[in-house]
């Protein structure tokens, strides 16, 4: 590489927006004076104007410029413009640096022209310092395998499989139990569309069957994985044999477990006639009723039912800092009102007393809440500190409650059945979590990188989460999140080749002393320890690296650096800014 650098510097007037407060001529003159490598230093009325861009392209070509600094407005507005210009001129776009002398200089310091000018000058110097040590960068290309592993054969897994297969992506779906459909398969009618859970599962399975690009393995679990986005290698245990799968991305859809009340919680397992909503759902899914039938449960004719909400959800944080399910399980208010409607529709003259804390029948489900009320349900609000008591008395369940709506005066009530509206808890997947190093949040559900920016992604790029493994959801929301995960996975594997940003970490082998701080710091597991010609050192997997630079900061020797922001580049910029 020749030492001679040919730099072009273009300082923008922005039609006065810069030049009114920044002495552009002075900047140009100073740079000309102090920077011999700056072959061209120009001021332009509008750097971004087409004519100016043509002028720059001409300069780059004719003057054989190999680095360019544009000093203009914020890079957020025009960095892409100028980088594209560089590309058109045949210059590596990353050999161009865009410095801000408008938002961060002229506009910020209108009352101090000298200060603004000096600041602009310093920023231009930093730009020059940067391009001097800059190296051309190319987007990283990574081949991907056009197949996706889906873990979990509940409705989320099934839906993701359907979507991906429809997008021409090969799918391997594994389920640890012997049958597909998960919890939903066991449910009766599901709000808000009154189709049986088993029916929904059947439709999904039917849609999936006969597709050539889907393989389904039941009784299968993940043993381990290696690789990275686009090229994962996953070992799967199937009954007796172990198989190895090559996939481009992994979707985790392992679902939830239902909360099991402890013995004695609202009389559970102690008082006859206390059951959970899942047990009621099972009873209802098999019971035929046309509105005149009688409900018999456990040999007892049921006339009055009490629903107790928020069992296992919205628990108070214990004083001693122990565990509690503080989250709301989201689906239960809706599911309970829906089950109540089913009861009212199938059986005659049954009163249901709903002991609730807040009715969370959000959105359209509010209508279901109202119609439950109009069909024979009565809603009684209770306070966190005054939960109802359940006891056995005679052949019935006695409920003593304190409703906050009537000043918490105790009232006794007798019912034939008590249904505990139990929430969702994260399913036990310790082995899987370990195998895939899946991040678990404080609530025990899988944690996404960011609920709004990257809602289905985990810290391991390419491993996605969806459905109720991530948070409590109802069927409709689960299907949506599964589709969203499918979309994300498709965007990883649909193109044979992935284009990734070039700003990734790299190791200077000469400096690395294998302190491994970077490995601990990396949130994406992108760094590993390798041995090269007898020397242990860190190695960055650029397909996993997101380019945050966290590793750079902790490296004791300065071996770990970020492309486009190398230590030399940053230091030279600091030097430029300080002058």
């Amino acid at each position: 590489m020749s030492n001679e650098k040919r730099i072009g510097v273009y300082v923008c007037h922005c039609g006065g927006n810069i030049s009114d407060y920044v002495d552009v001529n002075k900047v140009v003159e100073e740079i000309k004076k102090e920077e011999p490598d700056a072959v061209i230093v120009k001021d332009l009325m509008f750097d971004c104007a087409d004519a100016s861009q043509s002028e720059m392209i001409d300069d780059i070509k004719k003057q054989k410029l190999d680095r360019v600094v544009v000093a203009a407005c914020s890079p957020k507005l025009h960095e892409t413009t100028f980088r594209n210009m560089a590309k058109r001129a045949g210059l590596n776009p990353f050999m161009l640096y865009h410095v801000d002398i408008r938002e961060q200089a002229s506009w910020a310091h209108e009352n101090n022209r000298m200060g603004a000018t000096l600041k602009a000058l310093a920023h231009v110097r930093a730009g020059i310092a940067y391009v001097k040590s800059a190296e051309p960068l190319e987007k990283i290309k990574a081949e991907t395998t056009r197949s996706v592993l889906i873990i979990g054969g509940g409705i989320a897994g099934l839906k993701a499989a359907i979507d991906l297969s429809a997008m021409d992506v090969n799918v391997v779906l594994i389920e640890r139990s012997s049958k597909l459909g998960g919890h939903v398969a066991e449910l009766g009618e599901i709000y808000p569309y009154y189709t049986a859970g088993s029916e929904i599962v059947k439709n999904l399975v039917d849609e999936l069957s006969g597709r050539g690009n889907v393989a389904i393995f039941t009784n299968a679990t993940v043993v381990s994985y290696s690789g990275y986005l686009g090229k994962f290698e996953v070992k799967v245990q199937r009954e007796t044999s172990e198989i190895t799968l090559q996939v481009g991305s992994i979707i985790v859809a392992t679902g939830f477990d239902t909360y099991k009340p402890y013995t004695g919680e609202y009389g559970y397992e102690k008082v006859r006639g206390v059951i959970t909503i899942s047990e009621l759902a099972r009873v209802l899914s098999t019971a035929a009723g046309d509105g005149s039938a009688e409900l018999i449960y456990d040999g007892r004719k049921v006339r009055q039912i009490a629903f107790i909400y928020c069992v296992g959800s919205r628990q108070k944080p214990p004083e001693d800092g122990g565990h509690a399910n503080q989250y709301c399980s989201r689906y239960c208010c809706n599911a309970a009102t829906s089950e109540a409607l089913t009861v009212h529709r199938k059986f005659k003259d049954i009163k249901i007393y709903h002991f609730y804390r807040d009715m969370r029948t959000y959105g359209r489900n509010e209508l279901m809440y109202e119609s439950a009320g109009r069909s024979g349900s009565i809603f009684i609000r209770f306070d966190e500190d005054h939960p109802p008591l359940v006891a056995e008395e005679g052949n019935r369940c006695k409920i003593t409650f304190w409703s906050s709506l009537i000043e918490n005066q105790p009232v006794d009530m007798y019912v034939d059945l008590v249904v505990l509206i139990t929430g969702m808890v994260p399913s036990h997947n310790e082995e899987l979590n370990r195998a895939l190093s899946l991040p678990v949040g404080v609530d025990g559900f899988y944690k996404e990188v960011h609920p709004k920016l990257r809602p289905v992604e985990t810290n391991v790029t390419g491993i996605l989460i969806c459905g109720t493994s991530q948070a409590p959801r109802d069927v409709r929301e689960t299907l949506s999140s599964a589709s969203a995960a499918a979309a994300k996975a498709a965007s990883f594997v649909l193109k044979r080749e992935l284009e990734l940003d070039p700003f990734v970490a790299f190791v200077d082998p000469g400096l690395c002393e294998a302190h491994q701080e970077c490995i601990k710091e990396c949130p994406y597991g992108a760094i590993e320890l390798i041995e090269e010609s007898g020397k242990k050192m860190a190695h960055v997997n650029s397909a996993k690296c997101k380019g945050c630079g966290a590793c750079v900061a902790v490296c004791p020797t300065g071996a770990m650096q970020l492309k486009g922001y190398t230590n030399a580049e940053i230091k030279s910029m600091i030097g430029g800014l300080a002058r």
Partner: protein, 140 residues
């Protein structure tokens, strides 16, 4: 020893997606802050090496302001904690070199936190103005 003519030079580390837009907004809103600040943008504030900070002081900056991402960072949700750990190491190094630790400041600046940025920088400016130039403090 504070000098009326002394203009403390402040280096600001900002981040491409979050705090740099916030600093831009301060300019767009014509909010006044000391022009002797210089801004250097990085992908994420957790990348700021303590060494960069020391290097800044050695290069002639009188103060360093880290405009961190806060919880909005597109890379890491805990980038503030990571940045804070690095800042702590920088503080230790500054102690060794006899640089007053109040010359280093870190604050979460979001993409519209123009006021927070301007106030933070002004405040740092005033403190450092009282302390005097960085090489001067070594002698004190």
């Amino acid at each position: 020893m504070s000098n009326v003519n002394f203009e403390p030079k402040i280096l600001v580390f900002s981040t491409n997606m979050i705090s740099d837009p916030g600093i831009d907004l301060a300019g767009m809103s014509h909010i006044d802050y000391p022009p002797s600040t210089r801004i250097l943008r990085l992908p994420c504030s957790s990348m700021v090496r303590p060494e960069f900070i020391i290097y800044a002081f050695e290069s002639g900056f009188d103060a360093v302001f880290i405009a961190a991402d806060g919880g909005d960072c597109p890379y890491l949700s805990d980038c503030s904690e990571r940045t804070a750990r690095n800042v702590q190491r920088a503080v230790d190094m500054m102690k060794e070199k006899g640089i007053d630790q109040s010359r280093l400041r870190m604050a979460g600046i979001c993409s519209v936190c123009s006021d927070a940025f301007a106030n933070g920088v002004k405040n740092l400016y005033d403190i450092v103005k009282g302390l005097g130039p960085v090489n001067g403090s070594k002698n004190a």
